[in-house]
């Protein structure tokens, strides 16, 4: 029973820690797609500041099979002020009707409403810019808990100063998205003093199930000369090193767990076989071959390991179920363990192989002992 429990705990450890790490990565993936970049992000040609002829680009991208919608954004640096509070943030100009189809920011309004097309004099801001009523919840400088209907002063880098009414507060639980500040394209045009025919980037939402890499290729085939990046490319740029480190952490956890499993099973089978030396000697004396005796011990190890794995799966699934209902709270959102069938299958195979190795060596050592030595034990 103890052996089954140890195998179950080893199996749980092999799955659980990596599942939390994967939960972090999946959360980052979800947030980057849902709030920041869409499935694909089009950026200006290298060494250029803006995407020019943006209407033509949007028309091209929207015709690509697999694209649901493309939305242009124009970002401009600004200083936001409320009473004594003053912070620097980029202000993003959007076409709200397009943006609703590309990101889920509009679905995450903590207070107030999302922007409407053509609205002037209004702004929506993320909770990490607006500030919480309880300042301990703020993760950086804010405007001191401004709310819907309050006024905020925005000084753009081109020298234009505007007072905006806050129309809505965004809360996505993505720290990056919760700092964003949005106005309409028309508002930005009034700030710039000319029509907005450029963009700093274009977000593209693709149909579910269509691989982003395929759509990216199609976009390039449609003659888009700007930089086209899938969210995987962006994640690799932004978190590649972190993902590598997580993978290394997972590998270390896996190896340590496997070594524990091998050592425990080795000791268990060694004790069992040493205690059964006389019996093994008798079985060999009767004429039962060494291979059958070894297989018998391996079968025992196999059964114990399978029982341990079954118990481990129950524990893992139980923890996943619990943490799905009561997830870990992190600044960048709720983290739930991410476990796939292939994780369970691959770890099951690994632990079975480890168990077979751990079981075979001591069983072989004792089974090869000569009959009389074994019988005198």
């Amino acid at each position: 029973m103890l052996t089954v429990l140890i195998i179950a705990m080893v199996f749980t450890n092999m799955i659980f820690m990596p599942s939390i790490v994967m939960g972090f990565i999946k959360n980052a993936e979800h947030q980057i797609i849902t709030y920041s970049t869409g499935n694909i992000l089009v950026e200006p040609v290298k060494d250029e500041e803006y995407i020019t002829d943006v209407d033509s680009l949007l028309a091209k991208v929207n015709r690509v099979p697999g694209v649901i919608r493309a939305s242009a954004q124009y970002s401009m640096g600004a200083t936001l002020k409320n009473k004594a509070y003053k912070i620097g943030r980029p202000v993003i100009a959007i076409q709200p009707s397009n943006e609703r189809l590309v990101t889920d920011v509009s679905k995450n309004m903590k207070e107030g409403d999302y922007l409407g097309d053509g609205e002037l004099g209004q702004v929506i801001i993320g909770i990490q810019t607006a500030g919480h009523k309880d300042p301990t919840e703020d993760m950086g400088p804010t405007l001191g808990a401004v709310g819907v209907g309050d006024s905020v002063t925005v000084e753009y880098t081109n020298g234009v100063v505007r007072n905006y009414r806050i129309k809505g507060i965004i809360e996505t639980f993505s720290y990056s998205a919760d700092q964003d500040v949005y106005v309409t394209q028309e508002e930005m045009e009034s700030v710039l003093g000319h029509p907005l025919d450029v963009a700093t980037h274009v977000l593209v939402k693709t149909e579910p199930g269509v691989p982003e890499a395929v759509v990216k290729t199609q976009i390039l085939r449609f003659g888009v000369r700007e930089q086209v990046k899938t969210w995987q490319d962006l994640l690799e740029d932004a978190m590649g090193r972190a993902v590598q480190n997580f993978s290394m952490l997972n590998s270390i956890t896996l190896i340590v767990s496997l070594v524990i499993a091998i050592v425990v099973l080795f000791i268990m089978i060694m004790i069992k076989t040493l205690n059964s030396r006389r019996q093994i000697g008798v079985l060999k004396a009767i004429g039962i071959e060494q291979g059958i005796i070894i297989n018998n011990y391996l079968l025992q190890v196999l059964l114990l390991t399978i029982l341990g794995i079954v118990l481990g799966v129950v524990v893992v699934e139980g923890m996943v179920a619990y943490l799905t209902v009561f997830p870990f709270k992190f600044p960048d959102g709720d983290i739930t363990p991410y476990v796939t069938f292939s994780d369970l299958a691959s770890n099951t195979v690994l632990i079975l192989v480890a168990a077979m190795i751990a079981g075979y060596i001591p069983a072989w050592q004792v089974a090869r002992m000569d009959i009389l030595t074994a019988m005198r034990a």
Binding site: R278, A285, I286, G287, I288, L372, M375
Partner: protein, 226 residues
């Protein structure tokens, strides 16, 4: 018909720098259906001789033939098969597999021999009825007395009609009454099945059961009643 034939069998154990001559040249012939007792004082070489005859150990020199087969030329694997198919063993401490019940202990070797399930279940039931344990088939070893356990061990040894049955002091751990039950069983099997039995013993009163007694002293047969 000759079942066992040995010629000048010796066994020398190396104990550090000292050589111990356990057998010094044993030559003996045992025929089919004989119930032979190997007797002698402790250290006389009787168990060593039984181990050589039962293929549990190899002699240092000399030859042994069982049922006309020179066993000296057999590989370890062939010797294991020979033991499984043609020999039966009863040990001093019964040596039952503790996890198995009476019935399973008896048919364990039959199963490994490749006997069909219906056949070994049937022969197990018959042999357990013969030894008077037909109603204890589902019992574990710790639910049996020493004498009963030894009877189960005998049933295991004879269930598939071995050509030769070897018994190494099978009554050493039994009281006199249980010993008599076991010896009576050996005698019955010997008489009814014409079973060749070679048994090591140091109890003088066991002689009354043997057809023939080989007495060993210092690794040599000093007396043979056959």
């Amino acid at each position: 018909m000759t079942m066992i034939q040995t010629k000048d069998v010796t066994k020398v154990y190396q104990m550090g720098k000292v050589q111990v001559h356990a057998l010094r040249g044993v030559t003996v012939t045992i025929g089919k259906g004989e119930f032979v007792g190997i007797m002698g004082a402790s250290g006389s070489g009787k168990s060593t001789l039984l181990h050589m005859l039962g293929l549990l150990d190899r002699p240092s020199s000399g030859s042994i033939a069982l049922s006309g087969i020179d066993i000296g030329v057999l590989s370890d694997r062939e010797r294991a098969r020979f033991r499984l198919k043609r020999l039966g063993y009863v040990f001093q401490d019964y040596a039952l597999v503790p996890e198995l019940n009476v019935q399973e202990n008896v048919f364990l070797a039959s199963m490994v021999r490749g006997t069909k399930m219906l056949d070994y279940l049937s022969s197990t039931a018959q042999i357990l009825a013969l030894i008077g344990l037909g109603d204890r088939m589902a019992h574990l070893h710790n639910e049996l007395s020493g004498g009963e356990q030894q009877r189960v061990a005998i049933a295991r040894a004879i269930v598939d009609h071995p050509e030769i049955l070897f018994a190494d002091e099978p009554c050493a751990n039994l009281d006199t009454a249980s010993s008599r039950t076991v010896l009576d069983l050996f005698k019955t099997i010997n008489m009814e099945r014409e079973q060749t039995i070679v048994m090591v013993s140091h109890e003088e009163w066991h002689k009354e059961y043997f057809d023939r007694v080989l007495t060993l002293q210092d690794g040599l047969i000093i007396a043979d009643t056959g």
